[in-house]
């Protein structure tokens, strides 16, 4: 278990603090949502929804970490930061988490590829749902093709985010 190449290894008799264990995933997801404070004035929806990506990653890496209601506070924060109508991510993220719970029982085998498949379906659902909500709340006639590139590179970005998240996770559980 103890590998000299690892930057963090757990030491005997030491435990990470409670705040680190519980707070790290929540803070990373909120930082992902807060990516919109970067001074980029985008002309099209180009930025991948990092908040959603990190939420999915933590949920798939650590199924026991959160109850499904975590989608509500984190979704509210994402709505506040993202410019979507308030309630949009609250609804979509919670429904996604409930959906993952439901699907997980039915899958016989699970590996990294199934995780990616689940994440891809969740990303398509959330981005398409976001467009739908933006449309009905006075967004005008938004072309659904507009978010297709965003969907594609969000899905392609998932493996990278998983690796980074796993790195953070290792730091989280090792004191």
């Amino acid at each position: 278990m103890i590998d000299p190449h690892l930057p963090y290894v757990s030491r005997l008799g030491r435990h990470p603090s409670r705040f680190r264990l519980i707070g790290t995933p929540i803070i990373t997801v909120m930082l992902g949502s807060a990516i919109t404070i970067l001074p980029v004035i985008a002309q099209a929806p180009v930025m991948p929804p990092f908040g959603l990506l990190l939420l999915l990653t933590w949920r798939l890496l650590r199924p026991e970490l959160w109850r499904t209601w975590i989608g509500l506070p984190l979704g509210l924060f994402d709505d506040i930061m993202s410019g979507q109508p308030i309630g949009s991510a609250m609804f979509l993220w919670t429904v996604t988490l409930i959906g993952i719970d439901a699907v997980e029982h039915r899958m016989l085998w699970r590996s990294y590829r199934q995780d990616w498949l689940i994440a891809a379906a969740a990303i398509i659902f959330c981005v398409a749902g976001g467009v739908f909500f933006a449309r009905i709340t006075g967004g005008g006639d938004i072309n659904p093709q507009l978010v297709a590139p965003q969907m594609v590179w969000t899905i392609l970005l998932f493996p990278f985010v998983v690796r980074q998240c796993a790195r953070v996770d290792r730091w989280r559980v090792m004191a």
């Binding site: 807060a34 919109t36 404070i37 970067l38 001074p39 980029v40 004035i41 985008a42 002309q43 099209a44 929806p45 930025m47 991948p48 929804p49 990092f50 199924p63 026991e64 109850r67 499904t68 209601w69 989608g71 509500l72 979704g75 924060f77 506040i80 930061m81 993202s82 410019g83 979507q84 109508p85 308030i86 309630g87 949009s88 991510a89 609250m90 609804f91 979509l92 919670t94 988490l97 409930i98 719970d101 997980e104 899958m107 016989l108 085998w109 699970r110 590996s111 976001g130 467009v131 933006a134 009905i136 709340t137 006075g138 967004g139 005008g140 006639d141 938004i142 072309n143 507009l146 965003q150």
Partner: protein, 305 residues
């Protein structure tokens, strides 16, 4: 790899209830979220107050990053300026000498201009300008196109005010918080701007497409009057935008619809100007000014179809 262990607790009643309760909370919360969205259908700016806190907190971060970005992006200019500094200095000094005379001439012309305007009892259009501020961030992951402006209610910004850059129109204020405000960009798919062709006042309406381009529909029935290269400016109809602010240039024609690209790129402009709403600017000044400004507009609309 086998699937992860089931979340279903065994025979422990307490754990079962707690899991059940978490689902109930999640379902209720999702329903509340849906309800909030439905409320937003009828009142899109209703929950703007919830955003106030966070946009005030994130303002310094965005502003600091913005300053850093413009500092970094101009570093090559600074380095280039050191190159051949001496000869450049001499050349610039000569230029200043030559320009000084021109400035004096221009001042005289401006004075004369002001005097003539006073004789004609024209309003000075500078009255419509409220303040200059910077765009600090945007809704880059959403399909709506909002940008955040580093000035808000305390600086006198109100919803509906037009925002422009020297190159052209940027959008209008959507919501305000004490120190920041959200700008509905020209390219948002709900931003409709009444425009006309600069050359001959053919009236049209521009709608954003959300991807950085605009859809331009002529108000006149029949053949599409636009051709690539046409410059479009605001017409002043509707009372929000001043007339004659440059908006877009037509790049492509497809049947009834023309596609245009905005002349001002919000990601490149350094500072933007918030103006008073056109209606307000007109009604605030002398009553004689209103018909004067509106007259060419009406004439343009009448002759076009």
């Amino acid at each position: 790899m086998a699937r992860p262990p089931s979340r279903r607790p065994g025979h422990n009643r307490k754990a079962q209830y707690s899991l059940f309760a978490s689902y109930v909370v999640a379902m209720t919360g999702a329903a509340v979220g849906l309800l909030l969205v439905i409320v937003a259908i009828f009142d899109p700016t209703g929950f703007a107050a919830i955003r106030t806190g966070t946009s005030e907190i994130t303002r310094p971060a965005s502003l600091g990053l913005r300053n850093m970005v413009s500092g970094v992006s101009s570093i090559d200019e600074v380095l280039a300026a050191y190159w051949r500094a001496g000869s450049q200095n001499v050349a610039l000094r000569r230029q200043v000498e030559a320009d000084r005379n021109r400035i004096i001439e221009a001042k005289a012309v401006a004075q004369e201009n002001a005097r003539l305007k006073k004789l004609l009892k024209l309003v000075d259009e500078d009255q419509s300008e409220l303040l200059t501020a910077r765009l600090i961030s945007s809704s880059s992951s959403s399909s709506r196109r909002f940008a955040r402006l580093n000035a808000g209610r305390w600086q006198g910004v109100r919803p509906g005010m037009p925002v422009r850059a020297p190159e052209g129109l940027i959008g209008r204020i959507h919501t305000t918080t004490p120190n920041t405000s959200e700008v509905l960009l020209l390219t948002d798919s709900s931003n409709i701007v009444p425009i006309r062709r600069a050359a001959d006042s053919v009236p049209a309406i521009s709608t954003g497409l959300g991807d950085g381009t605009l859809e331009i529909r002529s108000l006149a029935a029949g053949r599409n009057p636009f051709s690539p290269g046409d410059i479009l400016v605001t017409s002043g109809v509707g009372g929000i935008y001043q007339p004659n602010i440059p908006v877009a240039v037509v790049v492509r024609i497809e049947g009834e619809i023309a596609y245009g690209v905005p002349l001002a790129n919000p990601s490149k402009v350094d500072a933007v100007v918030v103006e008073r709403s056109f209606e307000e600017a007109v009604t605030r000044s002398e009553p004689a000014a209103g018909p004067d400004l509106a007259a060419p507009e009406i004439a343009g609309n009448a002759t076009a179809p």
